[in-house]
Structure formats: structure tokens, C-alpha cells
């Protein structure tokens, strides 16, 4: 997304919340995602653009955590956070960094593009031929799901669409990890050995470099680890979250017969009209959202 698009989405969110009756303060957190790809084949221009963005997302979490800490001190127990798509990488990691310190009253994950196994080891696996360990489900440093419950949010909700187009494409991206290529130097996982103690390494120039936790956590998660579960926003049940099936909130699919599985539905709350998405924004403020 371009910076302009992010601003448009934030403006839309604020206006739609206002129409729902929300009269509090509103803020948007931006981080440097990649953008301006003229076509899908431009993946060829930067073969890792999605994962580069994900890497930036992980790395931006500290900034969000700091922001939320500051806000919570100003408005104790009155800060609410919702994140869209890859924003749930930033939000989830910021809340993980919060540990036992409450950063927000409620976190609503909307169409989250992050592994559901990071929260719930029992989330449904999908049929992939994963070539890496599922470090989201069992993080090597803790042997627990990576996010291990979000204790810095009083409550969590998950707005999901099991047919989400982008989160289906997300699976393809997961399949193609570790990021390997002929036209760029890539990331690899192999059986642990003295040469590669963690199994993860990357090649740069004529050398290979071992990667390990915790020093290279974000690099490993962004470029190497394959999720064996569906994305958080496409999983029907995730322990620790109040679930909201978005298909129950949406009007009939205008691309009928496609079961909310086309591209625009991934960002429907921003792209469709306020009337069409009235229930979505109502739910965000309502009983399955911020309550």
C-alpha cells in the first residue's frame, strides 16, 4: 500500500466509526510496506516484496508497542486496537512485546495475515508440504505458540473470512518460503548440523550466514518459516479470540457465487460503501468487537 492509500483507509475508518456513534480519539499507525507494483508479474522485479514488507512489519512492532504504552498511560484501559491484514503482524508482535503489561483494552484482528498457529497450536493445519519446522506453533525458545496468548490485551477478537482471497494467496507465499531464488540470494533451511546449528541460513555474496533465535527472529519468520496453519483471518476458530464470521455481517456477494472469495472482500470494510459495510463497523464497536 502506498502512504496515500494508508491515509485513505485511515480516513475511511475514522469517518465510519463516527457514523456508528464513536466520538473518541482516533489514530493510525503506518509502517513502511512495499508498494507501487504495477502488476502481479512485477513480483519478478522484487521477488520478495511481500516478505520484505512482512519483515518491515515485524521490525515496526517496537514502535507500535511504544506508542501503545504511551497511550495507555494517558488513557488507562481505554485504548482499543484493530489491525487489518498484515497489520496483525505489527499488532500481534507489539502486544507480545507488552508481555504482562496491559497495552490495550481490546485487540481486534481483522482478516489477519499472520499464522493462526502463532496463537493456537490446535488451529487447523492446511495441506502443504512444509519444509521448515512450524516455529509459529512451537517457538524454539519457549516450545509454546509464538504469541502464546496476548496478555497485554484485556480481550481479543478475530474477524474472519474463511474464503478470503488475499489470505489464500498468503498460503502460496508461505509455500514458497524459505525465500529462495535464482536471481537473488536467498534463505534456506536444512537439517540442523554443526555447519547450520539452527537449520536456518542465508547466502550473501559468496558466504552463507547462520540465522538463529532470538537475534534473527524477524528475519527467520519473515523469510524462512512456513506456517502450517491457515492465516489468523481465515481460520474459523482460534483459542483466545472471540470469533466474528464476516460473511454473517456482509451483504450478498455482488460477485455472486464466489462466496466472498474475490480480491475486494479482503479490504471490504474500506473499499465498499459505508451502507454496505454498516454491519462490519457496527460489529467492530459492538459485542463481538470492542464491546
Amino acid at each position: 500500500m502506498s502512504p496515500t492509500e494508508k491515509t485513505f483507509f485511515a480516513n475511511t475508518a475514522y469517518k465510519r466509526l463516527w457514523w456508528q456513534g464513536y466520538q473518541g480519539r482516533f489514530g493510525a499507525f503506518h509502517w513502511p510496506t512495499m508498494y507501487n507494483f504495477p502488476s502481479w508479474s512485477s513480483q519478478g522485479l522484487n521477488l520478495r516484496n511481500y516478505d520484505d514488507s512482512e519483515s518491515n512489519a515485524w521490525a515496526s512492532a517496537a514502535g507500535l508497542a511504544g506508542c501503545l504504552t504511551s497511550l495507555d498511560s494517558q488513557y488507562p484501559n481505554n485504548v482499543y486496537l484493530f489491525a487489518h491484514s498484515m497489520g496483525n503482524v505489527v499488532a500481534g508482535e507489539a502486544l507480545r512485546q507488552g508481555g504482562l503489561n496491559q497495552l490495550v483494552n481490546t485487540y481486534v484482528a481483522c482478516q489477519g495475515a499472520v499464522s493462526a498457529h502463532g496463537y493456537d497450536i490446535y488451529a487447523n493445519p492446511w495441506e502443504n508440504s512444509a519444509s521448515t519446522p512450524d516455529d509459529y506453533a512451537s517457538f524454539p525458545l519457549t516450545s509454546l505458540p509464538y504469541f502464546n496468548g496476548v496478555t497485554s490485551a484485556n480481550a481479543c477478537a478475530d474477524f474472519i473470512n474463511v474464503n478470503d482471497w488475499a489470505l489464500d494467496a498468503w498460503k502460496t507465499d508461505q509455500t514458497l518460503k524459505p525465500n529462495d531464488g535464482l536471481t537473488f540470494q536467498g534463505y534456506y533451511w536444512t537439517t540442523k548440523s554443526s555447519a547450520h546449528p539452527s537449520g536456518y541460513y542465508k547466502i550473501a555474496g559468496s558466504n552463507d550466514y547462520n540465522l538463529s533465535y532470538p537475534g534473527n527472529t524477524y528475519e527467520i519468520l519473515a523469510f524462512c518459516v512456513q506456517s502450517e496453519s491457515y492465516a489468523l483471518g481465515a481460520e474459523s476458530s482460534v483459542n483466545g479470540f472471540t470469533m466474528q464470521n464476516l460473511q454473517n455481517l456482509w451483504p450478498a456477494d455482488p460477485f455472486q457465487g464466489n462466496d466472498y472469495g474475490t480480491h475486494p472482500w479482503h479490504s471490504a470494510e474500506f473499499l465498499f460503501s459505508s451502507a454496505e459495510q454498516w454491519n462490519w463497523w457496527g460489529a467492530l464497536l459492538g459485542r463481538t468487537g470492542f464491546d
Partner: protein
């Protein structure tokens, strides 16, 4: 370390650079890489993959680039046969003839670009059958339409074929509702709150609002009272009562006709903390009749898991004040 082929390719790219201009047109990414033996171009090679496993295997072996693997993924997705065999019937099982059927063929257009849609049309024959054949793409959305019939908007009208893909002898069935004709109705949606300590709250079915002498009574009990929302599992019980009236729990495809009989005064729903799967949400649909013999439809959505002193409830009602059992609703005829 990666194999030597990778190293050679990397050196080649370092020397020659990447041609940024020609990725799209031929669905190839790495024009500076040599095609494998037996192929004139890398496009030919990428286009030779007929399933995703082959493309993934080639990627894993270092034979194709990551971008090429993605291109292969989208290309293979768009090559899927979308032959579709369907039939359309009404709620009585009778064929719906001469219905207009639209097929929305979807072609994937990449990560950052919306899909391309192509629309195809056909009609049901004298026994309600139709088909689309010879189409290839990522998906095919099929929608029948006929004046005087209703089609559900959330998949409730759709009965899958037995096999994964339909065939002339194993068709997808669309069930449409043959309309009697909508009547003026009252429709309300109300978001409210109820306590979870066992105290009853009454609502008025016609307005959806709380009312001390309302004809819908909700009683929610939760144990323990104090929970961590979304994290704790707990016991809960909800009683839904129609005061001086009745309710029928329903899950009809088209809840457009209220039964004349079979109503009971209340329903109770419980969830034990050790139930698998456990949920703190209740979503139920009912037919109801009021003491004055008016029929209607009721939807109750209740979250039991609030950490506030009360918890959220959404009530929707559709009420036909004429006394008819007909619940076909047209927003243009809504009584306000």
C-alpha cells in the same frame, strides 16, 4: 550450500542485470536465465507445468525462480476447467424453467491487481437444467435469476454435487423461493445489553426495544460471573421466552412462511465450560407468534463473554401485523 546452478545463475545476473521491462508480457521473470535443455525459452518451460506440485518441485530443486514459481501458480490456477452442470428448483422441488443464469468467470490477475471477470449467460431448460462448458479460469460464480423467485444471498440456496466437480449426472442444485408476494411488515434491528447474573430482561418484539411488559424475555446466567473475555471458558445458560406467545427454533433456507402450529413458550441453550467445541456466542433464528396471533421471525445474537457488567445482544424481528403467516419481506414495503 545451494547447488552450483544457483551460483552460476547469480553470477549471470550480477553481470548482466535484470531486464525490468519484459516480465509481464510473456509470463516470465528471468529472461537472463538460460532455458533448460529441451525448451526454447524459459516461458516455454514455465508454461509446461500443468500442476502446482511440479512447479513447486522445480522451485525447490532450484530450477525456477521464486517469481517464476508464483507466475506458474497463477497460470495453473487460471487453467482450471470450470465446466459446471446445474439445475434450478423451487421450494416445492419443481423445476424453475427459463431462468436467466449468469456465470462470472474469474481470472487471477496477481497480488496487487483485482481479478478479471468475464460474464457468461445461459438459461435453464424445460426441466430446470443448465450448464457452462469449455470455460477455464480460477473460479466460476453461478447465479440463477427469475422474476417472481428469490435466491438466497449467502449460499443457503446452493446444494453441492456429490463429487467435487459437477457433471451431467451429478449436478449442483440451486433452490429458489417461489414468491407469493411480500406484504407490509415491521422490521427492526436493535443492539442492546443484558446482564449475565440471571436477571431477566424483556423486549418488545415489534420495536426491538427493552420494555418492562415486553413479549420477549431473555435470561442469561454465567458461571463464574468474572471472566477474562476471549480467554476463559465458563458455563452459561440462556433462556429465551415468548411471553403469552410462542417460538419455533428454525434453520430454514428461506424463512418466508411461519408455521401455523408447533410453537412452544421458551427455549433454553446451555454451554458447559468443558464442552468441545466451546463458544461464548449464541446465534439462533426463530419463528414466533404473538398473543394477538401475529406471526413473525426473530433473530437473536448474544455474546455471553463481556467483562463489563452486562453483555451485548442483537435482536432482529420481522413482524407481519396482518395475521398472515407470510413473512416474505420487501424493504420497500416496510412499515416504519
Amino acid at each position: 550450500m545451494k547447488n552450483n546452478y544457483y551460483k552460476a545463475a547469480a553470477i549471470l545476473i550480477a553481470l548482466a542485470g535484470i531486464d525490468y521491462t519484459c516480465f509481464f508480457c510473456n509470463a516470465q521473470t528471468s529472461t537472463n536465465l538460460s532455458p533448460p535443455s529441451g525448451f526454447a525459452t524459459r516461458s516455454d518451460y514455465i508454461n509446461s507445468f500443468t500442476n502446482e506440485d511440479d512447479a513447486l518441485g522445480a522451485y525447490r530443486k532450484g530450477l525456477i525462480d521464486r517469481g517464476e514459481a508464483m507466475l506458474a501458480h497463477f497460470r495453473i490456477t487460471n487453467l482450471k476447467s470450470q465446466d459446471f452442470y446445474g439445475k434450478v428448483i423451487d421450494q416445492y422441488g419443481m423445476p424453475v424453467t427459463n431462468a436467466d443464469v449468469t456465470g462470472n468467470l474469474v481470472l487471477e490477475n496477481g497480488w496487487d491487481t483485482p481479478e478479471k471477470f468475464s460474464q457468461y449467460k445461459t438459461y435453464t431448460d424445460e426441466v430446470g437444467l443448465f450448464q457452462f462448458t469449455g470455460l477455464h479460469g480460477a473460479k466460476l460464480g453461478v447465479v440463477p435469476n427469475k422474476l417472481g423467485y428469490e435466491l438466497g444471498g449467502h449460499g443457503e440456496e446452493y446444494v453441492k454435487s456429490v463429487a467435487e466437480t459437477s457433471s451431467p449426472t451429478d449436478r449442483v442444485t440451486f433452490i429458489m423461493w417461489k414468491l407469493r408476494g411480500p406484504e407490509p411488515m415491521v422490521h427492526v434491528q436493535c443492539d442492546s445489553r443484558v446482564p449475565y447474573n440471571g436477571a431477566s430482561v424483556s423486549f418488545d418484539l415489534a420495536s426491538g426495544k427493552k420494555s418492562a411488559d415486553g413479549d420477549l424475555r431473555i435470561t442469561l446466567s454465567r458461571y463464574p460471573l468474572n471472566i477474562r473475555r476471549g480467554r476463559d471458558k465458563y458455563d452459561w445458560n440462556v433462556k429465551i421466552e415468548a411471553v403469552k406467545g410462542g417460538l419455533i427454533l428454525q434453520n430454514d433456507r428461506y424463512p418466508n412462511w411461519a408455521p401455523e402450529k408447533g410453537y412452544q413458550s421458551s427455549f433454553e441453550f446451555s454451554m458447559s465450560s468443558n464442552h468441545v467445541p466451546w463458544s461464548g456466542e449464541l446465534d439462533k433464528e426463530f419463528y414466533f407468534y404473538k398473543a394477538n396471533k401475529q406471526y413473525g421471525r426473530l433473530s437473536v445474537g448474544l455474546s455471553t463473554d463481556s467483562s463489563r457488567p452486562d453483555t451485548g445482544i442483537t435482536i432482529q424481528t420481522w413482524l407481519n401485523p396482518s395475521g398472515s403467516q407470510n413473512l416474505e419481506f420487501d424493504p420497500r414495503m416496510q412499515i416504519r
